[in-house]
Symmetry: C2
Subunit: 135 residues, 2 copies
């Protein structure tokens, strides 16, 4: 395995699965991933879930909780994702990562009244995308 600069080198299964998610235009579910990588030798759910867990952990992908599906991180230098926001069209199901400095600053600075310390947040917006509004 070739070790790149500061880049963490992914294992074989992790790379196969990241490649698949990366080139997908939509969030992929674990079993969709499984079916699509069986020809590459990944045959069982734990192999997929383990790679997904790791990829999430190192910030290469994010889980869309409301859909149990995974998307590649668009912020190429995002290593550990602690501030994620997504827009989800309820009509066409398109999902996009929202990257807005004001938003992430506001939420990262947000302080709980009850004294909790936040390490991480996940925000999901639902609505209609430009195209679906017209229809």
């Amino acid at each position: 395995m070739i070790k790149m600069n500061k880049e963490r080198s992914l294992s074989k299964n992790q790379q196969i699965i990241l490649d698949l998610i990366d080139k997908s235009s939509e969030p992929l579910k674990a079993y969709t991933i499984l079916f699509n990588v069986q020809k590459k030798g990944i045959k069982a759910p734990p192999q997929v879930y383990r790679a997904l867990d790791k990829l999430v952990e190192i910030g290469k992908i994010h889980k869309i909780e409301s859909k149990n599906a995974f998307v590649a991180c668009k912020n190429s230098n995002c290593e550990i994702s602690k501030a994620t926001a997504f827009s989800i069209c309820e009509s066409c199901e398109e999902v996009d990562e929202v990257s807005d400095t004001k938003l992430s600053k506001f939420l990262s600075k947000f302080n709980d009244k009850k004294g909790m310390t936040f390490k991480r947040f996940n925000l999901e917006f639902f609505g209609l995308c430009k195209r679906c509004k017209i229809k």
Copy 2:
């Protein structure tokens, strides 16, 4: 003229399940609910999921997406929940509904760069609660 808050009357199963969630101090999962209401005649998953769907729809409960669990809405007059935020302790698993005017205003006003119109959002903060920080 008095404008009545059109109270929706809940069905039997909906009421049983709402009561259970309401008096719970923690988010409840669908099958935990099922086991706890079997003595009341609710015997199968679809009965639980149908009631949950309806209760979510009318804003009586919220789903904590990252936990596949349900909590009662604390805003007693919240009819249709379109702006939800929760704090989740990663140590003790305590979940609280965050109600902060600034936060909900900021997020409700948030405009997507890509022209999406948002109807609703769900925000989940993760961290350590007061008590767990001390330990």
